[in-house]
Amino acid sequence: MSIEKRMLARELKLAAARPGDIFKPMWFLMLVISMVPLALSPDSVLLADIGSAMIWVATLLALLLNTEHLFQSDFSDGVLEQWLFLDRPLAWLVGLKLIVHWLFHVVPLICITPIAGLMLSVPTDVLIALLMTLVVATPALTCFSGLGAALTLGSSRSGILGVLVMMPLFVPVVILAAGVLIRATDGSEILPLMALLGAFSLVAATLVPIAVSAAIRLNIGGSN
């Protein structure tokens, strides 16, 4: 079997062994979405106003929490260090892992947002724009939070560091996405902003795996 196939087979098995990992972020999203009206007010007009933004932030959080421990168990079991002995660049393997993670754990999350949208009475056209921004933006978010996960692998103390590093990287994505949503509500042109978002994701997806692999190497070097 080629190394790529082995990686994919393993990720599939892991996803099957931990089906919870797929459902948990979806579940989290729905819980957060149902906490908002409870804490705010059940008024559907107000909810519709802030609905799409809430869904965006909640999805971002769900994704973050989901990706936070992306490499943790492989690292502490010593499986991650075995990746170094495979006949492929680490960045390539990391890229594969990130893609698989996006497909298995982020896409299902996106698929459930329409229900959240219905519950917060978000209008249909805004909902469609919301879905599109999520599809286009999540690759970048996944890469960045993967980087955060890799940076925090080694010690419990680097915890803050990894997360702080990630924060400024999320901001442009959120601002662009919010721009798209506001335009969708107005009914004006969203394509240019979407293109920007897409470009951002593309660049992230090509460059971040290299940074992630460097971070992983670093942390393996420090452990016993």
């Binding site: 190394i3 892991l14 062994a17 492989d74 079991d77 002995f85 070097g221 016993n224």
Partner: protein, 202 residues
């Protein structure tokens, strides 16, 4: 299978950790057929040295080569088994091994039988006892194509039968032209090895 002749060269390697000098200007060379036991008291730096040779710990001072080439080029010729379990707790025994070795079901199954895990193929690793988990990690040796084995305390948690089986396997490996570096605090009975003593330098 017979391996191509292979050589491992460690020259002038030094290491300091936490301001403690672990070893200084260490040099030795291993060739096909060699078995080297790295010995020394707890904290002497055995694990550190083994991880350096495996390329998992940065060489601060000195050079390590395989067949005159830098380590990073020859990664896939090395098989390293360390202190950590090396297998995922949430996967079954057989899935772990299929990923780590790249071999197909029948080969892997045979390896598991060889290490005495018959009947545990589909158990999750987290349901195994300590020694059984270790056996699962060691099963990789039974389907490995790497000539250079680096084993950090492979005998830990193994019962007497398995210790013997492992000794036989290491002997067979070097007979095929492989080489093996290992550490242990228990003296192996049936291996023919040389010893590198790492002492406290300070």
């Amino acid at each position: 299978m017979i391996f191509e002749p292979v050589s491992l060269n460690i020259s002038q390697v030094s290491c300091e950790r936490d301001d403690r000098l672990l070893f200084h200007n260490l040099s030795f060379a291993l060739r096909s057929g060699d078995i080297l036991r790295v010995a020394g008291p707890n904290g002497a730096g055995k694990t550190t040295l083994l991880r350096m040779i495996a390329g998992l710990f940065e060489v601060q001072d000195g050079v390590i080569t395989i067949d005159q080439e830098p380590l990073s080029e020859r990664r896939h010729q090395v098989l390293y088994i360390g202190h950590k379990p090396q297998v995922s707790r949430d996967l079954t025994v057989i899935d772990n091994l299929k990923f780590l070795t790249g071999f197909d079901e029948p080969v892997v199954k045979q390896a598991l039988i060889d290490v005495g895990l018959r009947g545990y193929h589909d158990s999750l690793v987290k349901e195994l006892s300590q020694g059984q988990g270790r056996r699962c990690a060691l099963a990789r040796l039974w389907c490995s194509e790497a000539p250079i084995w680096i084993l950090d305390e492979p005998y830990t948690a193994l019962d007497v039968t398995m210790v013997e089986t492992l000794d036989r396997k290491i002997n067979a490996h070097v007979a095929q032209g492989g080489l093996c570096l290992f550490t242990t605090h228990q003296l192996p009975q049936s291996l023919n090895f040389e010893t590198l003593e790492l002492g406290r330098v300070d």
